[in-house]
């Protein structure tokens, strides 16, 4: 290996390792150790952390199932290991709310449903109806067990039936997307994948309300928290869909077209959100920049798949332009609440993390690719929180002052 090649290789490995460390949110420790999650500071923090962890669970579980259906055991094992690490993040979050004993109870029943999902996908892959039915039965047991666990932990705030319905929907999304994927209906599989991801955020809110109690009910009604939660969902979805599309792109898989369309659907949702927040002109500018960002990540992926360093470098160069322009756009939209330099650093990191994930995946370093993707998702959650705070402040300043003068007194004393 030449000195230059050695240096490049070292650089790439360090980017992956350091970005993982810097990401902070649920940073994943390797080598069999579980990640450590800081106890959430507020009910709102706990709720959004739970939502994000559940959202990522749905993504990893789907990845695991799809890998098994494709017969890619190495990738399925990496996904399964990542599901395990994600389960431990949730165990710690539950532990912060209910204590260590209940958290361990949660881990055991949650792990059982992951195993059943893996078995279900094996049954689908092998066209073994017996195995599928057995897995379905195990998942049905899980739904009841989880409902019982949540109902008990909620001290009556969450009826068992409501909890069971939420658990059922989660499991149903995962099974349905697996069935559609196995049938080669990738568009439907990805549509359900998106619905399942969105549902886990609703599930997280339900669980947070149930387990945290009145303090959460109040905190989670606050518009600032709701915006933070929704941006975490949308921007987190951007990461998971781009990761899925780049993996399909890097292997030139038959599911790429649907994966790319799912990314575009998320881009349109993000543009619609920006329209609501800052108006149509800002939304159009946002979408133009965001579209460039996604296209360059895909162009980089194409360069990796083709083994073409020139294309990869061109994509990196173009991403540099996006990072600067998008930082300026966001800073301007928030009236300077978010400094351009800070935003640019954040965007550089986001792009580097996405590209490092592509590199790891293409090099078949699946464990590293999973870690990189998880760190990218966690980093985006942190970014979503910062953006939500800045948007709330900026738009709060522009909101009308006080109530409305919508009466002249012609019926004073005669109405309610």
């Amino acid at each position: 290996m030449s000195r230059q090649a050695w240096c490049r290789r070292t650089l790439a490995v360090l980017v992956v390792v350091l970005t993982g460390l810097v990401a902070g949110h649920a940073a994943v420790a390797r080598g069999g150790r579980f990640p450590t999650v800081a106890a959430p500071a507020t009910p709102g923090d706990a709720a959004v952390a739970l939502q994000a962890a559940l959202g990522y669970h749905s993504v990893l579980a789907a990845d695991m199932m799809r890998s098994r259906i494709r017969g890619d055991e190495e990738l399925a094992r990496a996904a399964e290991n990542a599901v395990g690490r994600n389960t431990d993040v949730m165990r710690q979050l539950v532990g912060a709310l209910l204590g260590a004993d209940r958290a361990e109870q949660f881990r055991l029943l949650w792990t059982a449903h992951v195993t059943a999902l893996a078995n279900y996908s094996r049954g689908v892959a092998d066209e073994d109806n017996g195995a599928r039915d057995a897995a379905r039965s195990a998942l049905s047991t899980f739904e009841g067990d989880l409902a019982g666990f949540l109902a008990a932990g909620s001290q009556g705030r969450l009826p068992r039936d409501a909890a069971a319905a939420a658990a059922y929907l989660h499991v149903d999304h995962l099974m349905q997307q697996a069935d559609a994927y196995a049938a080669g209906d990738y568009a439907r599989a990805d549509q359900i994948y998106r619905e399942g991801y969105a549902h886990t955020f609703e599930l997280g809110e339900t669980i947070a309300n149930a387990l945290i109690g009145p303090a959460a009910v109040k905190a989670l009604r606050a518009p600032a928290w709701r915006l933070r939660s929704q941006l975490t969902r949308l921007l987190g979805e951007h990461v998971v869909l781009v990761v899925a599309a780049t993996r399909a792109g890097a292997t030139n898989g038959p599911d790429f077209a649907a994966a790319g369309e799912a990314v575009n659907a998320n881009t349109r949702d993000l543009a619609g959100a920006v329209d609501t927040l800052f108006g149509a002109a800002a939304a159009q500018r946002f979408q133009s920049l965001w579209a460039d960002h996604v296209e360059q990540v895909m162009a980089y992926t194409g360069g990796v798949a083709a083994g073409d360093a020139t294309r990869r470098e061109a994509a990196i160069e173009a991403l540099g332009g996006f990072e600067k322009q998008f930082a300026a756009f966001l800073s301007s939209a928030t009236g300077g609440r978010l400094p351009v330099a800070d935003l640019a650093r954040t965007l550089v990191m986001h792009d580097q993390m996405l590209l490092a994930q592509v590199d790891s995946f293409a090099a078949k370093q699946y464990e590293q690719a999973q870690d990189s993707a998880y760190s990218t998702y966690g980093h985006m959650g942190d970014v979503a929180g910062q953006l939500a705070g800045a948007f709330t402040g900026t738009l709060g300043d522009r909101a009308p002052k006080g109530g409305s003068q919508t009466g002249y007194g012609g019926t004073a004393g005669h109405h309610g």
Partner: protein, 206 residues
Amino acid sequence: MAEPARVLRFALVAVLLALVGTIPASQREAPAAADRSAAADRPAGPLAVDSFRSARSYSAVASPVRLRIPDIGVDTPLTPLGRNADGTVAVPVDPDVAGWYREGARPGQPGPAVILGHVDSRVGPAVFYDLHALRAGTQVSVERSDGSRVAFRVTGQVRVAKSRFPTDLVYAPTLEPSLRLVTCGGTFDHAVGHYRDNVIVYADAA
């Protein structure tokens, strides 16, 4: 091993600098992990990823033009409203016509849309005279300029002193399609010529 150690130190510093954004994009190296995959592992034939094109448009929600609340006999055109010079919300000039706060969400967009109307004129009832009678579950419909309609369902209502108007709950951005209907209520302060309270109806997408 002195050479690799020196290169490792260089690489470590370079990565740290890149992470804090001090290396311009043009000088960043393409991570080379992919180069390690054998050429034989590379997908053959045209790459689907090369044909990817980002979505560059989205379905914009049209402006609202009409509000209907059959349960209280409301069927009114909507006029766009902004803010007054003192920062308060502008209100419709015509007491029989409601208005939509155009600096907020359009009804059906992911966010709270706000529609305001008078409870009375100087001589009698106005468009939102019966707003206080709306109960949870009541259907509200908004027609938009492109002919599309969006339905909402009332979730609750409050009467609050204008001095304690919940700006956050009415105007603060979220990404959930919702509607707030606002008018006046309570007692009339003849000294200043205004009602003391506002009635706010909250509705979510049906």
